[in-house]
């Protein structure tokens, strides 16, 4: 076993490093900068080059970070490590680990759909694939994102014509920027919540083209607000911040919106099914493309995916992790996704992860999680 679960996280003994550890360790390889994968307090960080800006924005400018270009490899103790695009968010990577001819790939979170804000998912051949399974049920089948954005545009345009602000709740990091890059910015001004704006800056600094955005405090003319698309983390719902917008129509963008019950729990006017995770066909395609005979499932619909893959003749097992997952994430995760990305809110995000990890620790398995960016 090149990788094995330890209390701190997934550990590679041969290379003496962890992948996305949830407790402080000396050496951590980070798949991407979401809070359940990139935590503060490690000695040294290794991540993909495009992740640098967002990682520093979230964990602090002074972290000991080394970056690799996608495809570039380093070797230590005879273990060769390289990072490959995962298509999840800016800088997200799959970690390829090779030791004495054996190849493992840890996917982190991924999607196979194209996304203009990050490099596309790249299948990497391996013997053992460590996969997520957030949306690992056949009910989850995403429509092409162009279709989803056409729906968002139509909703925004109709609201703007009616003089109503369009408040779209979404995760601050990844989803928000994907939406910015996908919508028709000619419809009206775009306002971003203070938790989103720093990440927009990091994306722009990394060369990702985003339409102009502003903070609500920068909007002088109130009629602008009535035509605006407003991006906000779910935690902003019901706050005084949101009450500044005139007669808003609200919506939520998430893969969970595929299910009517989840949509109704949110009690928003519209649910847009837009996820940065692979859907069921995407997961199966990605797993198949690796050629791996052994698959470890880390989080999400773990028992379902394990049983399905085993039925397909693969050696499928679960890894117990503290990444976001399972159906509980449909509710709690959405709230934890409220985790803002400014430095001041980092502590609270860590807290919520700790809470759920106690839960995960006591239930055998994967029932709880503080999911983000689903």
């Amino acid at each position: 076993m090149l990788l094995a679960p330890r209390p701190e996280g997934l550990y590679c003994e041969a290379g003496d490093f962890f992948v996305d550890p949830w407790r402080p360790v000396p050496r951590a390889v980070i798949t991407h900068a979401h809070a359940d994968h990139a935590r503060p307090g490690h000695g040294a960080y290794l991540a993909a080059a495009p992740a640098e800006g967002v990682l520093r924005a979230r964990l602090g400018a002074d972290i000991g970070l080394r970056t690799l270009d996608y495809g570039e490899a380093i070797e230590s103790n005879g273990v060769r490590v390289s990072l490959h695009p995962a298509g999840h968010v800016l800088g997200s990577a799959q970690v390829r680990i090779e030791h004495r001819g054996e190849v493992w790939v840890v996917s982190g979170d991924y999607k196979v759909e194209p996304d203009p804000t990050c490099a596309p998912f790249e299948p990497v051949r391996c013997h053992t694939f460590v996969t997520e399974s957030t949306f690992g049920l056949p009910i989850y089948r995403w429509a092409p994102s162009a279709e989803v954005f056409a729906g968002v545009n139509a909703w925004w345009r109709a609201n703007a014509d009616a003089g109503r602000a369009s408040v779209l709740y979404c995760y601050a990091f990844g989803k928000a920027q994907r939406i910015l890059a996908g919508v028709d910015a000619s419809i009206g001004p775009i306002v971003c919540h203070g938790a989103i704006e720093p990440l927009n800056r990091a994306y722009r600094a990394a060369g990702v083209a985003l339409p102009p955005t502003r903070l609500v405090s920068d909007v002088k003319d109130r009629t602008d607000l009535s035509r605006a698309l407003v991006l906000a983390p779910p935690s902003a719902g019901g706050t005084t911040w949101i009450r500044r917008f005139p007669d808003p129509s609200d919506a939520f963008a998430s893969g969970w919106m595929a299910v009517r019950g989840a949509r109704r729990r949110r009690a928003v006017d519209r649910g847009f099914v837009l996820s940065d995770h692979a859907d069921w066909p995407g997961l199966l395609a990605a797993i198949g493309a690796t050629g791996a005979q052994r698959v470890f499932v880390t989080h999400g619909q773990v028992p379902v995916m394990v049983r399905w893959l085993a039925g397909q003749g693969l050696d499928a097992q679960s890894f117990e992790t503290e990444f976001a997952g399972e159906d509980g994430a449909a509710i709690d995760g959405a709230d934890a996704g409220t985790v803002a990305s400014t430095d001041s809110s980092r502590d609270s995000s860590t807290d919520s992860s700790t809470d759920s990890s106690t839960v995960a620790g006591t239930v055998a398995g994967t029932d709880a999680g503080s999911g983000e960016a689903t």
Binding site: L137, R264, R265, D269, R270, V304, G311, I331, V359
Partner: protein
Amino acid sequence: MKAFAALYPELDASTSTLHKVDAIERYLGRAAPVDAAWAVYVLAGGKPRQAVPSRLMREAAREAAGLPEWLFDECYQAVGDLAETIAHLLPPPVAPEDAGLAEWLTRRLPGLRGAPAGDAKAALRGWWAGLDWNGRFVLCKLITGGLRVGVSKLLVIRAIARFAGLDDTLVAQRMIGYTDARATPDAARFLALVAPADAHAPGAAAGHPYPFFLAHPLQQPPESLGTPDGWLVEWKWDGIRAQLVLRAGGAWLWSRGEELVTERFPEIERAARAFAAAVAPAGEGVVLDGEVLAWDADASRPLPFAALQRRVTRRTLTPAVLRASPAAFVAYDLLEWRGEDWRTRAQAERRAMLESLLDAAAVPGLSVSPRVRADDWAALAALRAGSRERGVEGFMLKRLGAPYGVGRTRSEGGDWWKWKVDPFTVDAVLVYAQRGHGRRASLYTDYTFAVWDRAADRTDAGDATDADRADRGTVATDRPPAAPRTLLPFAKAYSGLTDEEIRRVDAVVRRTTVEKFGPVRSVAPTLVFELGFEGIARSPRHKSGIAVRFPRMLRWRTDKRVEDADTIDALRALLPSR
């Protein structure tokens, strides 16, 4: 079907009643009358007879999707709704086709009734192939019966009223009985709903009742209503709220569920005819609002609700059933007199006329609900405390100056109040949890509660000294150690918690799961809730030997330990003496 299936997401997506009314109104304007007739029926809660068993539909969907049964079941558990699960899982449509809603409900689906399983499944797969996501979802909903889309009957009425340019109350009256299972919607009935106000509506039967006026539960102290002399105070009977319609020599008894139940209560029909002959011999219209109760003429109080239920549920009314559960009508109100609508007159005036009419006729089995008088609220509260002994649920308070309203509307909520006796309560332990449906899908929201089979022994109760000594073996135990207490499940409840509390309970359920049986989990007993319920009876069908009525969670007793929950004896003590 396409137009109706497209209406569905519009209704489902919006949280604004105004938008929903708009959407229905627009649909009505586009649809053929016969399709509109069925749309109104389905939206207002009508349930077409199930043509295909759910099991068969499920199988057909599973085969079409090419999924093993376990994976289909996992999907269903995550979605919490069979129709939606199927719509998610079916392969993309191939050859779009469109047939009207009426075509589906009058020909296609009824045509499958009793068809061989193979034929029915083939037909379903063929239909699915021609429908988009919404069409499939709506079709499955129509098959399983019940299209709950967050649209109330009142909202449908508003939409029809707007579409037809009529008054809400007129449409509400025309809508009565519209969703009755025995009445099939057709174009003529829809046109009768939307006919001009002065037109003689051909579809409206002579026996149509008025929409029922409903009371709000009284949450505030009664003193906030002023002095009792402004109010008509009556017992709140635990029977079937009903209207007795007497017109042109006919008698019709309508339940609050808008079902015609005349033939279930022949003795009430007889009494009603005798009453009509006495007070309105020329067949002038008289309509009474009241309560059907199972009440033996010689008894001082009505029989329990269960006795009345037998009258409704038994297929044939044998003389034995009629004898065991004799029915009577207790009148509350006069809604029509001599063919004139009296609903806008004051309660006091309606009441006085009601009393004088029933006094004059003096028909056995037809009485006025007595007015309860007391000088102040405290005296009434004292009387209310004895409600259970009288077989009533508390008081109804009706403002003497108020008209008879429609439905349970907020604006008129201040005129009628139900001041119910406090529920029975017991502290019980959560032992099983099941995932909810719809909005609560994938959350553990439906719980089974248990009480202890006996009181705690001293050691059970946590007598520290004894327990410690026993632990250290310093006390010679000459008696055998007592068997541990067990928890006896006795009630299921799923209402009463806030969303936030549900989330917290859900997390505990997941953390303390002992075993999973399909959608149900047994949990280690850690949570205590105060349950409230309205009635309690012996029941040989329940393991605990007890059945409770309307159980719900009153509060989460985070202050109580599991050991402090109540015992079965505490429940038995609440049983009525025999």
